[in-house]
């Protein structure tokens, strides 16, 4: 039995090196008419995702996983996302700038992104909480809010550690409802997903989404 209410809070990302057109088509078939929050694909697959997943929120990743692209390339990929009519981007600010407290550079980068997007799609920023101290998480989130970014995705999930309940509780305590929180990395089961939602997370990213929302194994 599919948990349709929980499904609405899921962000799905068929994103691996070997993801093929066949996989995206199969993904769309498996999803059927189940409503989910959004679907994140790599730039190459945005047109296909728009075709086989019509009417859904489609997004892409920018500077994944921890901000390795130049400003020019970030700009180009965001322009592509805007051109394709994406609903969101998952944006990784430069991890080493945040870590080394180069906040002017972080602010500059965030401003460029926010200005370029011009409110035409949602920006989800990744603070990579698994590798930050609580003070660094607080500072990162403050910088995002100052720049006008109101959604965070906790982690990139690329072998970089997991999100803990304490991270979400801390962000919630510091920022209340001013930041929407998407939890990523480490959510494998429905119980874990519900536990995060119960303490105030808004959405869940997970590669085990089928098990979490209860799509039968045979069907998937």
């Amino acid at each position: 039995m599919v948990d349709l209410e929980l499904a609405k809070k899921m962000v799905l990302a068929p994103l691996t090196t070997e993801t093929s057109e066949k996989d995206i088509r199969r993904f769309a078939e498996v999803l059927g008419d189940i409503e989910v929050y959004s679907i994140i694909v790599d730039e190459y697959y945005i047109p296909l995702a728009r075709e086989v997943l019509p009417g859904r929120r489609i997004g892409t990743i920018v500077s994944y996983p921890l901000g390795s692209l130049t400003a020019e390339v970030n700009k180009k990929i965001i322009q592509k996302a805007l051109g394709y009519g994406c609903s969101e981007i998952d944006f990784s600010p430069k991890f080493n700038h945040l870590k080394s407290k180069k906040y002017d550079l972080v602010k500059k980068e965030l401003k460029e992104i926010v200005d370029l997007v011009g409110g035409k799609l949602d920006i989800v920023a990744l603070p990579q909480v698994s590798q930050m101290s609580l003070a660094e998480i607080e500072k990162s989130c403050s910088l995002f809010l100052e720049a006008g970014i109101k959604i965070i995705k906790t982690n990139s999930g690329l072998n970089q550690g997991t999100t803990e309940m304490e991270h979400v509780q801390f962000i919630k305590r510091k920022f209340g409802d001013s930041l929407e929180i998407e939890v990523s990395a480490g959510v494998r089961t429905k119980e874990q997903a519900l536990a995060f939602l119960n303490i105030g997370a808004d959405r869940i990213h997970s590669s085990t989404w089928k098990q979490i929302i209860g799509i039968d194994k045979e069907e998937a």
């Binding site: 093929s20 190459y44 390795s68 130049t70 020019e72 180009k76």
Partner: protein, 219 residues
């Protein structure tokens, strides 16, 4: 083979996502000191590395479309041109593995040709991520990219499983006639690892252990 000859085969690599600028500085200093072929880094670090490598023989390898490779050829071309503008001498791009899986060979051919055109005078390496591929797919990808004119076919990004010697041999046998070379990357940590890869046909090695390999190399 001399220590210097092995050094000139090494792309001293630092592509961990969570790296600090200190670690970029370290590999650049090592590259300068030992005369490594290049440092292999993320594009955002190229200007910093360029300054540090001023006056040395070591080039800069830019990791393009990392780590998934699922970008359009236009997007990869844009990143390649941007990296060259910033100082990259070598461009290591992740191929469109999904298109290979779908047998959309025209997509791969176009990608290879577009990137070759955009990197004239620079070293172009196509990363296959061989641990995800069948032998048939590895051979096919080697043929397509070799024909498109890349300088090297490269085994792996280093994010996933390292390549086997057997795979390096297959790649070498497939491209040697065309004069395309093989870069092995992933899991190369000791002089012995490096030696085996070279014997299998690799002439460029992507490794974060360049210094250990150089120090332990017996001429």
């Amino acid at each position: 083979m001399t220590k210097h000859e092995i050094a000139r085969m090494i792309d001293q690599t630092q592509l961990k996502p969570n790296i600090s600028l200190d670690s970029i500085e370290s590999i650049c200093l090592e590259a300068k000191l030992f005369d490594f072929a290049t440092v292999a880094i993320h594009p955002c670090h190229i200007p910093f590395a360029k300054e540090l490598l001023e006056g040395s023989n070591s080039g800069i390898t830019a990791a393009i479309a990392f780590p998934y490779g699922a970008w359009s050829a236009e997007m990869k071309e844009f990143e390649v041109r941007d990296a060259i503008k910033n100082g990259a001498t070598d461009l290591d791009f992740v191929i469109n593995v999904g298109a290979l899986k779908d047998k959309k060979y025209d997509v791969l051919k176009r990608e290879g040709e577009m990137l070759r055109k955009a990197t004239e005078g620079k070293i172009l390496k196509s990363i296959l991520e061989v641990c995800l591929l069948t032998e048939e797919e590895i051979v096919k990808a080697c043929e397509i990219y070799s024909r498109a004119g890349v300088d090297f076919v490269k085994t792996s990004t280093g994010f996933l499983e390292p390549p086997t010697l057997e795979v390096v041999k297959i790649m070498y046998e497939t491209v040697k006639k065309a004069g395309t070379r093989v870069k092995a990357a992933g899991g190369i940590r000791t002089p012995e690892d490096a030696k085996k890869m070279i014997e299998a046909g690799a002439t460029r090695l992507g490794t974060s252990s360049g210094m250990q390999i150089y120090m332990g190399w017996e001429e």
